[in-house]
């Protein structure tokens, strides 16, 4: 089992969610985050003083998937979230040691 963490541009969230749903990914956790990579911020002006807004709003999407679903999920996210411009984001894949469904107590791939 793997945890796929994707940092995306916020306006891509709905489309990525739909694409994941289409390939059979049932659950998703979404957080609003800030960050930057190669995409620089922008300057704002307040009463004559300029300041740089470095951190850009992004969305973090986390999905727990079985090993077979890792590649399809990455492909779906990449296809939908890419705009070709700097700031599209990144995907991190980390191993998932254990998954438990709280309601029923199921563990492992049955819990995904």
């Amino acid at each position: 089992m793997k945890l796929i963490t994707a940092i995306l541009k916020p306006f891509k969230l709905d489309d990525v969610r739909e694409a994941l749903s289409e390939i059979g990914v049932k659950g998703v956790t979404v957080t609003e985050v800030k960050g930057f990579g190669r995409q620089k911020g922008h300057t704002e002006l307040y009463r004559g003083a300029e300041y740089v807004v470095d951190f850009l709003p992004k969305v973090k999407v986390e999905v727990a998937v079985t090993d077979e679903m890792v590649d399809p999920a990455i492909e779906a996210i990449t296809r939908i979230a890419s705009t070709g411009k700097i700031g599209d984001g990144k995907i991190f894949v980390t191993p998932l040691e254990q998954v438990i469904r709280i309601r029923t107590g199921e563990t492992g791939p049955d819990a995904i």
Binding site: L45, Y46, R47, G48, A49, E50, Y51
Partner: protein, 420 residues
């Protein structure tokens, strides 16, 4: 029949005074919203508490002793409700003047109109010292300012008293219709004294003189506050005509409303254009300050200018205020809402405009009045702030400033559900 007409005049003039007083009271909401919008969210509750508190203190101190210092009469407004001889006396006085003379109205309405001006003066200070002053130190200062400092200079001007019994500003040709100097510049003088002793907000100025932006949390509130102040100003200037109940007075009131509005519009345009030229963009906060600057500038004489002149005066004020705000930051005077610029620099400018359209005022008289007001308020304020600083301290600690004045002074946040 004559008496009935007179009684109607009296009632109308009293009513007018009360409505204008209510409009000026509404400016307290304007100041509160403007300041709440221009500070950071972690300091919002504290500045709102300051605004409501200072209004209450001003009303109370002015009632206890301020009105008496300024206009005479007993402490605690003893006897203000009048007695049985009031009506016949008033009737006789007005009959003498052929019903077109001095304003005659209820003394209680006079107090009501005056007290809201005191609160306006005091609220100018709250914006300049925002985000780093101890709440209770501010309240302590407010007690002295509204109970003594303002009433004294008000007595030397509107009250007609000699300055320390030595000379009379009215005789010198000083004229300040609704208080560009008496209310606005005075408030700014008290604010300046406070800010000098308080110091700038942490992080505002860099080591090499860079000015760092500390953006306000809620520009819709700031804008709402500005419009509320704009509307309240019709009462501020309009009520200062002091009379409505005859044709000449009604025309004056109409002219005052017209010019007041024109100056605000001019101020907004002046600030907008200058900000666009300097920054390349339209800074909303400068636009708001510009409109207010126009209002402050016309306050010393809203009756005699033509509408075009009132608009131009406003535009000049809008340009001056933008330049002043930038200059204040250059000399490291941190004023989060631009109060010292809007009310102090432009308040003085407003005073000096008066002789241009009002022949009974002289430049020398205006300078004398401005000097007396500024130095009296500034020096007294410096003394009071210094005492407060030495005895209790006037600034919250660095850690409290980082966490926000809301937590340290009020123990409650303005926006507790917002995730940071």
């Amino acid at each position: 029949m004559q008496n009935q007409i007179f009684e109607l005049q009296y009632a109308l003039d009293t009513f007018y005074f009360l409505i204008c007083g209510a409009l000026v009271m509404w400016m307290a909401a304007g100041f509160a919203m403007l300041e709440a919008g221009l500070v950071r969210s972690k300091n919002t509750t504290e500045i709102l508490a300051k605004n409501v508190g200072l209004f209450a203190i001003a009303c109370t101190m002015y009632m206890i002793c301020g009105y008496s210092f300024m206009y005479g009469g007993d402490f605690f407004l003893n006897g203000i409700a009048g007695n049985e001889s009031l009506v016949p006396d008033a009737l006789a006085a007005s009959a003498e003047n052929g019903f077109g003379g001095d304003s005659v109205y209820s003394t209680a309405s006079d107090f009501f109109f005056q007290v809201v001006f005191v609160a306006t003066c005091m609220s100018i200070v709250s914006g300049a010292v925002a985000e780093r002053m101890k709440l209770w130190a501010f309240f302590a200062f407010a007690v002295v300012m509204t109970g003594f400092i303002y009433p004294m200079e008000g007595g030397w001007t509107w009250g007609g008293n000699d300055v320390f019994g030595l000379f009379n500003l009215g005789d010198l040709g000083f004229s300040d219709f609704a208080g560009s100097g008496i209310v606005h510049m005075a408030g700014a003088a008290a604010a300046l004294a406070g800010v000098l002793l308080l110091g700038a907000r942490k992080g505002k100025y860099g080591k090499n003189g860079e000015v760092r932006a500390i953006p306000g949390a809620n520009l819709p509130l700031a804008t709402l506050g500005t419009f509320i102040l704009w509307m309240g100003w019709f009462g501020f200037n309009g009520g200062s005509v002091l009379k409505l109940g005859d044709i000449a007075s009604a025309n004056s009131v109409a002219m005052v409303f017209l010019n007041t509005n024109a100056a605000a519009a001019g101020g907004a345009i002046g600030a907008l254009v200058l900000a666009r030229l300097i920054f390349g963009r339209a800074d909303l906060t400068m636009l708001l300050n510009g409109a207010l600057a126009g209002l402050v500038a016309i306050t010393a004489e809203p009756l005699t200018p033509t509408p075009l002149l009132a608009t131009i005066f406003g535009m000049m004020a809008g340009i001056i205020v933008v330049a002043s705000i930038l200059a204040m930051d250059k000399i490291k005077i941190d004023d989060p809402v631009g109060a010292i610029s809007v009310h102090g620099v432009v308040g003085f400018f407003g005073l000096m405009l008066v002789p241009l359209t009002n022949p009974s005022a002289t430049f020398l008289g205006q300078l004398a009045g401005a000097g007396v007001i500024f130095f009296w308020v500034f020096i007294c304020s410096l003394i009071v702030w210094s005492i407060l600083k030495a005895v209790f301290g006037i600034r919250i600690s660095e850690e409290e400033e980082y966490e926000g004045a809301d937590l340290s002074e009020c123990g409650q946040e303005a926006y507790p559900e917002f995730v940071k």
